[in-house]
Amino acid sequence: MQFPALLSTRVLGNFLTDNAFLGITAVGMTFVIISGGIDLSVGAVIGFTGVLVAVLISSVGMHPLAAFAIALAIAALFGAAMGLAIHYLQVPAFIVTLAGMFLARGGASVITQDSVPINHEFYSYLTSLAIRMPGGGKLSFIGMLMVLVFLVGAVLAHRTRFGSYVYALGGNATSASLMGVPVVRTTVTIYMLSSVLACLAGLVFSLYTSAGYPLAAVGVELDAIGAVVIGGTLLTGGYGFVFGSFVGVMLLGLVQTYIIFDGTLSSWWTKIVIGFLLFLFIVLQRLVFAASTRADRSPGGA
């Protein structure tokens, strides 16, 4: 690395803070993708949460904690509805969550068109909450929250019954249901988890910007999917790690930080590099899996 200052704790702390909302979203997305689905609505849920919380605090005069609870409850219901629709209507998750994305984005725009600022002492308290690290770096509350979500997510995916259900569902939904995996409950829980985590990411985003804007976080769903794929999770489902998504998010963040540090590269190089990284990791995955499946399965998966 040609910039020694990149490794300072100050940059590291900011790095975690800047990517906190993307990281939290990516955890939920990992579960959805491992189960063989996809959730396009997360970016819109982040935007909706930001606006809802901002309006509840600034216009209605509610305490932030109450507003947080309402937002999380709405997100849980929203995710449950999507999960139910995916299971009972037997439509691809792609289309259901696309409808969910339109609904959440539209709902946010119906609440307000403007950027609503949040001025509340509890907000400034949460933003100032940080652990000082040696070297002048600060580990902020939202940065710690992201790391915590990743840890909980990893335990949930790899050490609990629910996690095993998710993997089973992604491997083969029919076999999973025949083996007694509660398909409905698991599907609903997966999409609820994704929406709730997206909502949490929305709260983090509103802490980060101290405002709510209906068009915030447009396209975050693609960044999250990209991070999950770069992290080694298969989009066909049934295989992946929560920690891999952490690496993916950090890699995406690193590309951005590097381009900012370099200074001469224009911002559009970010997109090209991310696209190239995605391509590289997909091809790599493809080669690794082609090599490993050739060993124990007869050809014919074309």
Binding site: V91, L103, Y165, Y167, G180, L222, G226, G238
Partner: protein, 371 residues
């Protein structure tokens, strides 16, 4: 006229389009008024056709891709690339024909790239096209060097705003493309091949269809359609905006195809109905605008419409309908009973030992949770 295929014209999609248009007429009485001014037609209905044309063109290409059980997320970005190429070439002094050809070639190249990823490397279509969706906009910005490139070439602008026989040029282009594509897929065997690959690619390959070549062709045609739509959009605003040209139009195109009855699981498609789907979307957009409702409602209404269509098309609705038919009822109940018996004693009954169930082999880590 007795052999006129009336039942092929009247179906869910056209009834829905008529319904949306009628609703618009109720909300805005002047909706169906069409005037002749300066040698061309004017009116809300023409506006729906004109603004719906880019999405209709995209939806045509997208339908072909979806019919092969794929999806192309990159069409919006390809539009931006094509627009950027056309605008910069015209500004650099090339002729209009060269600029259009360059833009079309760029779109074709993007499509071939997607096709190669999907067909040769066997990458899932969503992911394969996601690469170009992310990188494409960056490439478009690279071409325009980050700024919005404007141009004043009259021939290029004519593609976006001119008129032919009184109809706006985009409508004419979209209609011709639709006619061409429909004839190609319904009067030759190509449509059948596409459906065969969409239903079961391995079986189609074994039956002698060159599925790899077919997939590459389908994706490159989708890229070409996206390039045409990109040129139209750039010509319409007299400039190429790498950031916003075709933004989220891929979702509209997929939606149009799905509304048009194309199955996302592949194997069933209709290009004219996808175009009707694009017009339904645009009629809703225009209706909300002309009736004076705030445009924010647009997305919510869209979400409602998608949900409604999904419910009508879903197997669940078919099952509810079948519930009234005696024959299906028995078989349904039987399947449910079998599934239940398997659920109750998963480890003792047959599915574990069936050769088709490689569950335990693939997922040794899960077996402890069930046994």
């Amino acid at each position: 006229m007795s052999r006129f295929p009336l039942n092929r014209i009247i179906n869910t999609q056209t009834v829905a389009l008529a319904g949306v248009l009628l609703l618009n007429w109720i909300l805005f009485p002047g909706f169906f008024k069409i005037e002749w001014q300066d040698g061309r037609l004017f009116g809300s209905l023409i506006d729906v056709l004109n603004r719906g044309a880019p999405v209709a063109i995209l939806a045509g290409g997208m339908t072909g891709v979806i019919a092969t059980k794929g999806v192309d997320l990159s069409v919006g970005a390809v539009m931006a690339v094509a627009g950027a190429v056309a605008a910069t070439m015209v500004d650099a002094g090339h002729s209009t024909a060269a600029a259009v050809a360059g833009a079309l070639a760029a779109g074709l190249l993007c499509g071939i790239w997607n096709g190669v990823l999907v067909a040769l490397l066997d990458i899932q279509p969503i992911i394969a096209t996601l690469v170009l969706m992310v990188a494409g906009r960056g490439i478009a910005q690279l071409i325009t060097e980050g700024s919005i490139v404007t141009f004043s070439d009259p021939a290029l602008i004519y593609i976006g705003t001119g008129s032919f026989l009184g109809l706006p040029m985009p409508v004419v282009i979209a209609f011709l493309l639709m006619l061409l594509a429909t004839l190609a897929v319904r009067r030759t065997a190509i449509g059948l091949f596409i459906e065969a690959v969409g239903v079961n690619r391995s079986a189609a390959t074994l039956a002698g269809i060159r599925s790899r070549l077919l997939l590459i062709v389908v994706y490159s045609l989708c890229g070409l359609c996206a390039a045409i739509a990109g040129i139209i959009v750039a010509a319409y605003i007299h400039g190429a905006d790498a950031n916003n040209a075709g933004l989220w139009l891929e979702l509209d195109a997929i939606l149009a195809a799905v509304i048009g009855g194309t199955s996302l699981l592949g194997g069933r498609f209709s290009i004219p109905m996808a175009v009707v789907g694009a017009l339904i979307i645009q009629a809703m957009n225009t209706g909300i605008l002309v009736s004076g409702y705030p445009p924010e409602f647009n997305l919510v209404v869209k979400a409602g419409i998608i949900t409604l269509i999904l419910m009508i098309q879903s197997p669940f609705a078919t099952m509810v309908l079948a519930w009234f038919g005696r024959g299906e009822k028995r078989s349904l109940r039987c399947t449910a009973a079998c599934a239940r018996s398997w659920q109750q004693s998963p480890s003792s009954s047959s599915p574990m030992r069936r050769p088709s169930c490689s569950f335990r082999r693939c997922f040794p880590r899960v077996s402890w949770a069930i046994s």
